[in-house]
C-alpha cells in the first residue's frame, strides 16, 4: 500500500510534467506546477517517513511495463524509504521556495515540465528494484536535470556546462550498466532480488564495485570525476541547483550504497581502502577548489564535492568494519554517513536558496560585486548564516553531529587487523579534519564577502528582501538544521532500520539516554549532548547580556568606522573574496593549483590603475580531462578514414571482425 502511494506520487509528477508542457505559457503555470509538486512531495514524504519510522517490512510491486519478460520491479525497504525522505523533503522545500522564486523565471516553459519530471526520476531511482528500471530512471533523472541546466541556453557557459554534464552522465551510466551486467551474470538475473540471492565470485563483485564507484561517483562528484558538477549545478535555476546539489548527489550515494552493501555480495577488505582514499582526497580537494572561487553558486557546488567526500569516508569506514565482521562499528560509520547525507541535503538546499534569493535581489552571483546585504536582506542573511554555521560543522548545529560521529567511528579503527587500513585511516582522519577547518574558512569568506561589509556595487546597495515563500522554505530548512543538531538522537534512531538491513546491527538506542545525549558506543567512551550545549550557550549569552546591560552600561553611539584612523569611504578598499583567500591560496594553492600572482604596475605618471591577476590551474582538468579529450580527438581523426573505404574493404573488415569474435568465443569456452 505504501509503495503504491509512492508510485502514484511519481506518476502524478510525470502527469504534471506533461500538463506543464500544455500550460507552460500561462501566467499561473509556475504557481500551479510548484504548488502541485509540493503537495505530491509532501504526500510522498509522509508515506516514506511513516514507513521508515514504523520500521515496516519491505514492500514489493511489479508493474507490467518495461522489458516484456521482466516488467518493472519496485521495492520500498528501509534504505529506499530513508533516501525517499531525503528526496521528498528536498523536493518539498524546493517547490515551496520556487513558489516565490519561480515568478522571476524568464522562460518558465523551459523549467516547469522538466522540474516535475526530474522529481519523478529521482523518486523512481530510489524505489527501483531491477537493473533495467533503475538505469532507466537514472537516465531519466540525468536527462531531465540536463534540460534544466540548459534552461538558460543562450548563456555560453551554460552550453558548455550542459555538454560536459551530458558526456559525464553518459559515461557514468555506461559504467553502471556494465556493473549491473556483471552482477546479473550470463543468465540475465536483472532483478535486485536475484542479485541479492546470487553469490558472485570475488573478482566479479570487485569489478562490479569499481564500476559502481565510477558510475555513482561521477554523479555524486567524487574527485576526479567531479569536473561537470561545479559547471552544471550553478548553471541551473537556483531551486534546481539546490535539488541537484542537495538531493541528486544523494541519489547517487544511494546507488553506491545499494550496490556496495547489498548487491555486490560480501565486501573484500581492500574495497574500503579505495573508498576511503577517494573520500579523503575528494573532501580536501573539494573545499580547496571552493576556496578559490568567487562565484557564490560555484563555491557552493564545490562544497558539495567536499561533503560527498565526507559521506564516502563514512561509507568506506562502514565497508572496512563490515568486511572484518565488526557490525556495531560498521553501524556507527554507516549511520554517520547517512546522517550526513540528510544533513547535507538540508544545509546545501538552504545555501543554494539563499544564493538564489541574492541572485534575484541583485542579479549577481559574483561575490566581488556584492557586500552589505545583511542590512538590505536581514532575514535571508540570518538563515544563510545558520546554513553557513551548519555546513562548517559548528556545534550545536547538525553538521557537527555527523562529523563527530564519523570521528568516533574512526577512533574504533585501530582494532582493524589490516595494515593498509591502519596506515590509511589516520591520514584520512587528518584530511577530514583539514577539510572541516577549511570549510569554516570558506564559509567565513562566502558569508563575510556577500552579506557583511559595505555594498560594492549599486546592485548590492539597492537589494530588497526576498519573497515570503522563499523565506518560508529557508526558515524551514534552518529550523531542521538546528533541530537535528539539538536532538540528534531522534534522527539516529530513525536510521536504525537502515543499518539493520544493510549490516545486521544498529547503533544503541539513543532516545532513552539522559538529557537526550547521544552515546554511540558507551558512556565512558564518548557522548555529546547538543541540547545541553545549546541551552548552556543560550543561558551564558543571555546572562552576560542581561548582567552587562543592567549593571554596567547599555549606551551606544553610532560613528564612522575607526580603521586605525584612516577609514576610506571607497568600498573597494574592503577585503574581497580573492584577497580573503590569499593566505590560504599561498599555503595550499601554490602546491595544489600552481597558483601564481602577477602584478601589473603602470610606470610613474601613468594614471591607469595597477592590476593584480591571479592565475590558477586546475590540476585534475589538466592532468586527466585534457589529455583524454585530446586522445579521443586523435582517435576520432584516425577512425574518420573508415568513412571513405571501398565496399571491398568494408566487407573484409566485417569478415575480419567476425573471425576475431569467433576466435574469442572459441578461446573463452
Amino acid at each position: 500500500m505504501t509503495l503504491a502511494i509512492v508510485l502514484a506520487c511519481a506518476g502524478a509528477l510525470l502527469a504534471l510534467a506533461a500538463f506543464a508542457v500544455a500550460i507552460g505559457r500561462s501566467a499561473a503555470a509556475s504557481r500551479i506546477v510548484y504548488g502541485a509538486s509540493m503537495i505530491v512531495a509532501a504526500i510522498s514524504l509522509a508515506t516514506a517517513a511513516m514507513h521508515l519510522l514504523g520500521g515496516r517490512a519491505p514492500e514489493s510491486l511489479t508493474l507490467p511495463v518495461g522489458v516484456p519478460w521482466l516488467g518493472s520491479h519496485f521495492r520500498l525497504d528501509a534504505l529506499s524509504a530513508f533516501f525517499l525522505v531525503v528526496v521528498d523533503f528536498g523536493a518539498l522545500c524546493a517547490s515551496l521556495f520556487a513558489l516565490g522564486y519561480g515568478e522571476h523565471e524568464t522562460a518558465p516553459g523551459r523549467v516547469l515540465p522538466f522540474y516535475s519530471a526530474f522529481l519523478a526520476g529521482m523518486t523512481l531511482v530510489v524505489i527501483a528494484d531491477d537493473a533495467f528500471t533503475f538505469l532507466l530512471s537514472w537516465e531519466f533523472m540525468s536527462l531531465s536535470s540536463w534540460a534544466l541546466v540548459m534552461s538558460h541556453h543562450r548563456v555560453p557557459d551554460n552550453v558548455r556546462a550542459g555538454y560536459v554534464y551530458l558526456v559525464m552522465a553518459s559515461f557514468g551510466t555506461l559504467s553502471l550498466l556494465l556493473g549491473f551486467g556483471l552482477l546479473a551474470g550470463p543468465d540475465g538475473f536483472y532483478t535486485f532480488e536475484q542479485m541479492r540471492a546470487a553469490h558472485p565470485s570475488a573478482a566479479l563483485s570487485a569489478l562490479a564495485l569499481i564500476l559502481a564507484l565510477i558510475g555513482a561517483g561521477s554523479k555524486a562528484g567524487i574527485v576526479p570525476l567531479h569536473a561537470w558538477l561545479p559547471l552544471a549545478h550553478p548553471a541551473a535555476p537556483s531551486h534546481v541547483s539546490a535539488l541537484m546539489s542537495g538531493v541528486m548527489t544523494k541519489v547517487a550515494v544511494y546507488g553506491f550504497v545499494r550496490i556496495a552493501f547489498e548487491l555486490a555480495g560480501a565486501p573484500a577488505w581492500w574495497w574500503s581502502i579505495v573508498v576511503l582514499a577517494l573520500g579523503g582526497i575528494t573532501a580536501v580537494m573539494g573545499v580547496l577548489y571552493a576556496l578559490m572561487q568567487h562565484d557564490l553558486k560555484r563555491l557552493l557546488a564545490y562544497h558539495t564535492v567536499e561533503n560527498i567526500g565526507i559521506i564516502f569516508i563514512g561509507l568506506g569506514l562502514a565497508l572496512a568494519f563490515k568486511s572484518y565482521g565488526m557490525p556495531f562499528a560498521a553501524a556507527l560509520a554507516l549511520t554517520a554517513a547517512l546522517l550526513h547525507v540528510f544533513n547535507h541535503s538540508l544545509f546545501k538546499s538552504l545555501l543554494f536558496f539563499g544564493a538564489g534569493a541574492v541572485l534575484t535581489a541583485t542579479g549577481e552571483r559574483d561575490m566581488e560585486h556584492l557586500g552589505g546585504l545583511i542590512h538590505r536582506m536581514p532575514q535571508t542573511a540570518f538563515v544563510f548564516l545558520v546554513g553557513c554555521a551548519a555546513i562548517s560543522a559548528l556545534p550545536p548545529l547538525n553538521g557537527f553531529v555527523s562529523e563527530w560521529l564519523t570521528f568516533q567511528a574512526m577512533l574504533l579503527s585501530p582494532q582493524l587487523p589490516s595494515w593498509g587500513l591502519k596506515l590509511l585511516v589516520p591520514a584520512v582522519g587528518a584530511l577530514l579534519a583539514l577539510s572541516a577547518a577549511l570549510a569554516a574558512a570558506c564559509f567565513v569568506k562566502a558569508y563575510g564577502v556577500t552579506f557583511l561589509g559595505r555594498p560594492r556595487t549599486p546592485a548590492a546597495e539597492s537589494a530588497v528582501e526576498t519573497d515570503r515563500f522563499s523565506l518560508a522554505a529557508m526558515m524551514l530548512l534552518a529550523a531542521f538544521c538546528l533541530l537535528i543538531g539539538v536532538l540528534p538522537g531522534l534522527f539516529i534512531d530513525a536510521l536504525a532500520p537502515v543499518s539493520s538491513a544493510l549490516i545486521g546491527a544498529h547503533m544503541p538506542e539513543q532516545t532513552g539516554t539522559q538529557w537526550l545525549a547521544i552515546v554511540p558506543i558507551g558512556a565512558s567512551r564518548s557522548s555529546y549532548d547538543g541540547l545541553l550545549v545549546f541551552l548552556f550557550m543560550v543561558i551564558a549569552g543571555t546572562l552576560a547580556a542581561f548582567a552587562i546591560h543592567r549593571l554596567a552600561s547599555d549606551r551606544l553611539r553610532r560613528a564612522p568606522a575607526w580603521d586605525c584612523g584612516y577609514p576610506d569611504p571607497n568600498p573597494a578598499t574592503q577585503y574581497t573574496a580573492t584577497s580573503f583567500a590569499e593566505p590560504i591560496r599561498r599555503v595550499f594553492g601554490t602546491m595544489v593549483f600552481r597558483a601564481s600572482e602577477h602584478v601589473e604596475m603602470p610606470p610613474p605618471g601613468d594614471t591607469r590603475p595597477a592590476r593584480l591577476t591571479v592565475h590558477i590551474t586546475d590540476p585534475i582538468w589538466d592532468a586527466i580531462y585534457l589529455p583524454l579529450a585530446a586522445g579521443i580527438g586523435f582517435a576520432a581523426d584516425r577512425l574518420n578514414r573508415l568513412q571513405f573505404l571501398t565496399i571491398r574493404q568494408f566487407l573484409s573488415l566485417v569478415f575480419g571482425a567476425l573471425v576475431f569474435l569467433l576466435l574469442v568465443l572459441a578461446v573463452w569456452s
Partner: protein
C-alpha cells in the same frame, strides 16, 4: 544531596574559570614585564580594564550590522561553555559528559568563526586582514588539534575529557612516545590558538602582522570587554587542558569533601602559576615570526599529531 553537591561543584568550576581568567592574563603580563626588568601593571589590571570597558558607551561603526553586536555574546558564550567543561580541580563534573574533547574544540571553532565574521562586518581593510589570517592559521591549527585529540583518545580509550584525565592520573599511563609528541603538538597549537608571541603579539596594535587585534579593532566598550574575557578564557582553557592532561597530579576525581577539594584547587592554582611563568618565559625568549612562517610552524604541529596517531594505530605500546 549528591546532585546539589555536583551542581555546586559544576557552578564553582564555571565561576572559577571566569574569575581566574583575567587574573591569569594579568599574571602572564606581570611575569613578562618582570623578565624584561619592567615594573609592569598590577596583577588586577585586567579586571580594572574590564570594568572600565563595561562602563563605557559603545561606539559602533556606521556600517556595522546587528550581527556585529550579537557576536561578542556568542563568542563569550561558546568560550565560557567550553572552558567550564575542561576539568580544573576535579574531574567527573556534572555536565562533563555533555561535550567531549572534540566538541570542546568545535565550540572554540564556533567562537573563531564568528570572530572572523565580525572582522569582516564593518568593511574595513584591517578587519579583513585579521580575519583572513585568522582562518588561515585555524585551517592548520584545528586539524593539528584533532589529531592530538585522536592520539589522546586512542591512549585513554575515550574522547571524554574527564575519562582521559582520570586515565592520566592512573599508573597505567607510563611514558609513551605518542604522548610526548602530543604534548609538543598541543603546546604549539595552544600558542597559535591564543595568538601568543611567535604567531601573533597580544600586546601590540598597528602592526601589519597582527591577527586577533586587527579583527577586534572596531569593537569598543562592553563588546570589547566580552571579547577580552573570551580571549582570557580561551587562554586559561588551554592551560587547564595541558594541566589536566600532562600534569594531572592533585586533581580530584570523585570525592567532594572539603579538604580534598581544597587540595585540588591549590594544585590547580599552582599549575596555573607555573603555566603563566613558562608562557612568559617562552614569549620573552623568542622573536615573532613572519606571518607566512606560521604555516610551517603549524604544519609541524599537524605532522606531530599525525605521527602520534599513526604510532597509536600501528601499535598500542607506543
Amino acid at each position: 544531596m549528591v546532585l546539589i553537591t555536583d551542581l555546586a561543584i559544576q557552578g564553582a568550576q564555571m565561576l572559577l574559570v571566569l574569575f581566574l581568567a583575567p587574573l591569569f592574563t594579568g599574571l602572564v603580563r606581570k611575569v613578562k614585564a618582570r623578565l624584561l626588568r619592567r615594573q609592569g601593571p598590577p596583577l588586577i589590571q585586567p579586571y580594572l580594564d574590564l570594568v572600565r570597558l563595561m562602563r563605557k558607551e559603545v561606539v559602533l561603526a556606521d556600517s556595522a550590522s546587528w550581527l556585529f553586536r550579537v557576536i561578542p555574546y556568542l563568542i563569550f558564550a561558546a568560550t565560557w561553555v567550553a572552558a567550564s567543561l575542561v576539568p580544573t580541580f576535579r574531574t567527573g563534573l556534572l555536565f562533563s559528559w555533555s561535550a567531549d574533547l572534540i566538541a570542546i574544540i568545535a565550540l572554540l571553532g564556533s567562537g573563531r568563526f564568528f570572530l572572523a565574521l565580525a572582522g569582516l562586518d564593518v568593511g574595513t581593510s584591517f578587519g579583513g586582514i585579521g580575519s583572513s589570517r585568522e582562518v588561515m592559521i585555524a585551517s592548520l591549527a584545528e586539524p593539528a588539534m584533532i589529531m592530538i585529540v585522536f592520539t589522546l583518545a586512542l591512549i585513554a580509550g575515550s574522547t571524554q575529557l574527564s575519562t582521559i584525565a582520570e586515565f592520566m592520573v592512573s599508573p597505567q599511563v607510563g611514558l609513551r612516545v605518542s604522548l610526548g609528541l602530543a604534548l609538543v603538538g598541543l603546546v604549539m597549537v595552544a600558542i597559535a590558538e591564543n595568538g601568543r608571541v611567535p604567531i601573533d603579539n597580544p600586546a601590540t596594535h598597528l602592526e601589519l602582522t597582527m591577527v586577533h587585534e586587527a579583527m577586534v579593532l572596531e569593537y569598543s566598550g562592553r563588546h570589547l570587554a566580552l571579547i577580552e574575557i573570551a580571549a582570557s578564557l580561551k587562554l586559561i582553557l588551554y592551560v587547564s587542558l595541558l594541566a589536566c592532561l600532562f600534569v594531572p597530579w592533585g586533581i580530584e576525581s570523585t570525592g567532594a569533601s572539603v579538604p580534598t577539594l581544597a587540595v585540588g584547587i591549590l594544585a590547580y592554582l599552582g599549575k596555573l602559576a607555573l603555566g603563566a611563568f613558562l608562557l612568559a618565559l617562552f614569549e620573552t625568549s623568542i622573536a615573532k615570526m613572519r606571518v607566512f612562517r606560521v604555516p610551517e610552524f603549524l604544519g609541524m604541529a599537524l605532522m606531530l599529531g599525525l605521527l602520534a596517531t599513526l604510532l597509536r594505530f600501528v601499535s598500542g605500546s607506543f
